[in-house]
Symmetry: C2
Subunit: 350 residues, 2 copies
């Protein structure tokens, strides 16, 4: 990947040299960061707010394929995936730690690209990179990110607070990241069969970007605050809409009814799903990696959301005995199934 | 490793099933844990304290060798290594997140052992496991731990606070973990050459345990508080004494003088180092993984530490132009070199 570029071997730098090199230009901006990189631990001050912590692993060959994921995008996405969890608590993300395990096939320039992507995400989302770990890896690339944020105790939104009659809302649109992945996988296969054929992703920018460069929905958290909406429950859509709704219903001990025709799906997602012989609704329900926010609000807040372009009401919360169902476009009742994005099964399917 | 035991394939459980199974008995005990496992992020309340965050990656084939590291010990050590960083800030560790990437060669029972070790460490150190991530791994075992703690702002001890004239102190003894590793590596080689020969670790429990089951020094943080000692600087000894002293001197813009004869080395470490043709002092200076605390205190606090069995004064801080030296037993001056435990070079040496 870097054969035609400058290569600096990581061994020449050593661990401390690499850390110094990667972090020398990082200056904390958040006022809650008292001490960032450079000591045994970061020191943070959340005053009277509560601290939020979330963490994710991204492993080569499971979560990403370096044959089509640019390294800078990978660093960017690794951060977004984590920030999304803080926003899903209705919190503000303020810091991350970024750890990376690298096999010797990666030159310094590759690591720099991953870090650059991570730092672009940090800058865009007003988040400080305050720590991490850098290690050799005996095999593939390993990324582990922990995100830290804060929230007023009275504003924390858990998964378990959904109330009967709540409206179920989702931000943005769904299924795009999954369909984008199908497209990238197809082009990879074509390329592997015949390396002279260049990938044909023309006109598919939106769904390719949904897969490679997702954006966590800080703006939705801000919009909800601005409109004075405090959801009763919230979760981010990382494993597909069905799985996330079922998490909320299970933890809130409620049922739900959602309407297929209401599920927001971008026209490009829709059309491309059909090209692949996929049902766009199934892509939205089980595809995952959309990193949208799914939340429930009291019916009395309907007037506050109905004019918001980026929020769609897709159903409502019911009593638990009613089950968790989707009403199809043909008015049939389908129980929701948590297929999710089962990364433990994924490997066998590959 | 688990051929003669019950094997439950992880694929049968799926990711959510595995997480439920591993975490169902985890109940938060720390009063700062408002919400632990089960939502998008953990919610923590540190009231008027500052929040501390540290993170580490442990990768198979780099940080551990499953041919001689028992899984339960591995889980235990992964937690200790992280707590040590919180104590090195003079803080109290209160929570961890524990992420694990597993190849399909691991049955559920193996994961349970790793978790069991982690939870034993959590219980012993009064730390809640509040989150994590569980994923398939295309290759080896990946563990990522983030530790969270708290501290009074007036009690935070950084690496950069050493003052000229400070006494340099270290807890416990050094070099044992490294010599223990040599012993385990030797027995592994003998076993690989002839699987009928059982490992001979008799009488070497202490140094084997230093390597396999280190203990982070919460007790030293408590002892310092009890004796009303607030160090000017502190770091934990993960990469070897020399590397850590140099971190303190570099960040404090100071020099140092340490005395070889003062470096605390256990007799078993000493004798076993000689068996391997190693200089015990070099093992202490460059071996690493001891997870002791290295700190500097004003000379006026000497009376407070001189009677403490588990703390040794090994030298003092000097003006920066004096350099960073060790005075040998034969009274020769040796500049300290940060060889450290360079995990980025380690792989090539293997």
């Amino acid at each position: 990947m870097f054969d035609n570029k400058e290569r600096t071997n990581l061994e020449e730098l050593g661990e401390f040299g690499l850390i110094d090199h990667l972090t020398k230009s990082i200056i904390p901006n958040e006022k809650s960061t008292i001490k960032g990189i450079g000591d045994d631990a970061a020191v943070l001050d959340f005053a009277d707010k509560k601290t939020l912590i979330s963490t994710d692993l991204l492993l080569e060959g499971i979560h990403f394929d370096l044959r089509y994921v640019p390294l800078k995008h990978l660093g960017y996405k690794a951060v977004q995936v984590n920030l999304s969890d803080i926003y899903a608590m209705n919190g503000i993300a303020s810091q991350i730690t970024f750890s990376i395990g690298l096999s010797s096939k990666f030159p310094l320039e590759a690591v720099e690209e991953i870090y650059e992507g991570a730092l672009i995400a940090c800058k865009k989302y007003n988040v400080d990179l305050v720590g991490g770990d850098t290690s050799a890896s005996a095999q593939g690339l390993v990324i582990s990110v922990t995100s830290i944020g804060y929230v007023d105790q009275s504003k924390v939104v858990y998964r378990n607070g959904a109330k009967e009659g709540d409206l179920i809302c989702v931000s943005g649109d769904l299924g795009g990241a999954y369909v984008g992945l199908q497209l990238l996988e197809r082009e990879k296969k074509i390329f592997l069969d015949n390396p002279n054929i260049q990938p044909d992703l023309e006109g598919k920018d939106y769904i390719v970007e949904r897969q490679l460069k997702p954006e966590a929905r800080r703006d939705i958290v801000e919009l909800l605050a601005e409109k004075d909406i405090l959801p009763n429950s919230m979760i981010d859509v990382s494993d597909g809409l069905a799985s996330e709704i079922l998490h909320i219903c299970k933890q809130s001990d409620k049922g739900c009814k959602i309407y297929e025709e209401k599920i927001p799906i971008d026209p490009m997602t829709y059309d491309t799903a059909f090209e692949f012989g996929l049902d766009p609704t199934v892509c939205a329900l089980s595809g995952g990696e959309d990193y949208e926010l799914l939340f429930t609000i009291p019916q009395s807040d309907y007037d506050k959301v109905k004019g918001l372009l980026d929020i769609t009401v897709i159903g409502h919360i019911t009593e638990p005995s009613a089950g968790c169902d989707m009403i199809s476009k043909s008015n049939k009742v389908h129980p929701l199934i948590a297929q999710g994005w089962n990364s433990l099964k994924k490997k066998e399917e590959d």
